[in-house]
Symmetry: C2
Amino acid sequence: MLGRMTTDTPARLLQLLSLLQTPREWPGGELADRLGVSRRTVRRDIDRLRELGYPVEASKGADGGYRLVAGKAMPPLLLDDEEAVAIAVGLRAGAGHAVAGVDEASVRALAKLEQVLPARLRHRVATLQAATTPLTMGDGASIAPETLTVMASAVAGRERLRFVYRAADGSETRRQAEPYRLVSTGRRWYLVAYDLDREDWRTFRVDRVSEPFATGARFAPREMPTGSAAEYLRRSIQRQQETYGFAVAFAGTAAEVAARLPGWLGTPVEEEGGGGGWCVVRGETGDPVEWLAVRLVMAGHEFVVREPAELVACVRELGGRLSRAGGA
Amino acid sequence: MLGRMTTDTPARLLQLLSLLQTPREWPGGELADRLGVSRRTVRRDIDRLRELGYPVEASKGADGGYRLVAGKAMPPLLLDDEEAVAIAVGLRAGAGHAVAGVDEASVRALAKLEQVLPARLRHRVATLQAATTPLTMGDGASIAPETLTVMASAVAGRERLRFVYRAADGSETRRQAEPYRLVSTGRRWYLVAYDLDREDWRTFRVDRVSEPFATGARFAPREMPTGSAAEYLRRSIQRQQETYGFAVAFAGTAAEVAARLPGWLGTPVEEEGGGGGWCVVRGETGDPVEWLAVRLVMAGHEFVVREPAELVACVRELGGRLSRAGGA
DNA sequence: ATAACTAGGACGGGATCTGTCCTAATGCCT
DNA sequence: AGGCATTAGGACAGATCCCGTCCTAGTTAT
């Protein structure tokens, strides 16, 4: 009877969870060794994890073992340093141009992760981030991930926010606001907040915000003005959003083209009564036209832009530049 | 004295950790309420977390509170459903074309996450993944994230792997192998494994692998052949890798061009004694030339490709296609 | 100054945890 | 078919730990 070792139960459970998250099978004996407890205790711990809702699967028989499988709820993720860095970099890279719907959660996750990311890993993230900078947009309206995470934290923590806002005419003003929600539509981000100086609700374009920081001050949430908050958000943002429709004809059958086209762009439809082997893709987007043009040309099919005029102009310009680059 | 509530200590600690990961401050009283224990116990729990290495910071004074800050080690990440989905989607999007160094960890993290991702979230990930498919490569050498995660799990779990391999000439063969390591260089992924049929070590290009699955069978790791494993890997992959050098002249000063060019492409240098306002970028990459061409044209400066010939041809082709798309 | 919070010591009773037995059932390998 | 290693779980006793209830001290914003 050697008595209990120094490590206490909760720590051991966490360690066990960490071990089980490695994608392999762990025999009870090995776990007992690693955790420094008896085999019986390991069985009890595993029972406990199961009761907590983390489904541990066991294979019986010789070289059986335990392994954590998918269950009803997300168990706590136990990441090593490199994995944490990889996730941070991945999320930051995607923060600017993700899909509608994921991106808010993505920013929340990033904020959560960066809140607890050890200092020694931060510079690694920053370095890699710099190396992986994606192609900058035509209008340079890129958003620093830091800006988003600071804002997300402020929203979640109900803290007042100070920042500099650059209006459409280029003039900059200092603002102080109570951030209410961070939303993204297409590729644009908006902060809905109560502007304390203007004493009214405002919607800010995040790409025009700089130097945001959360003052420690907490605030009690206000009522949104016009009835439903969701409705207000929708209208408030729609007013600011600049989307445009486009129509492009591709050479090829609808099936051929669809196979090479990113799904979110739109679905190609065969042109009625048109000349054989052409189909048309119509859609709407808020992306810069350069971005769209690149997507279209990478599909590998001949195509003709029908609208808008801006896209036609952009396609011509890029085409000319590329042709000249080829020394034609 | 109401006695102890039903929840046991480890569960409570996990719940506490989860609450503290919300980016806000929690007063002790509120935590006590939520956890259903006395305030004193909350203090003790927080002490415990600190001893475990998770630094909980406390603000004293009125409306102070607790909050989890960055410490020495990564605490377990407690994600809600949406955050988990966002991370999965982000990592999968980045899996194909991440930066050297991060990507292996990135795949490990993805494998870890998908191992425990609740079933009801999986289809959401798949749906979003389909929507966010990036521009497909010219040569179609894209890799399904599933392939990578299956392989990563097999490597970590020392499980045998079966898959179909498409050789360079297009012929397909079934393989059975003991996966040793998954490495990525530039944008290419390689699986280093012991081929059980050929009875020798092989390096497989992952983009030529299909239908991989891990048979349950475990194997004992073999010795790598030529001395240092790292050395073998390096040479084995170098043999397969096809990189090429490129040289591109840009109109503009080095500073101007550098500002618009992704950093990993290379650093522009002013041409000696050349005509004013041109600079040259030289680099080496394994990317498909289409990808490179897009990066170059998005920089927004006039440019001329000097080498390689493939890039010149590609630039001409894309330029022609775009010009025709503009109806020129 | 007052209020509200964190920080932590002392104490006792009850719950809990652990190791050591034990038996049963399952699957793999020879 | 038989043997072996594994998971699964009951019973028990003793040491340990945990929790709530007191208490005091220190800090900060109002």
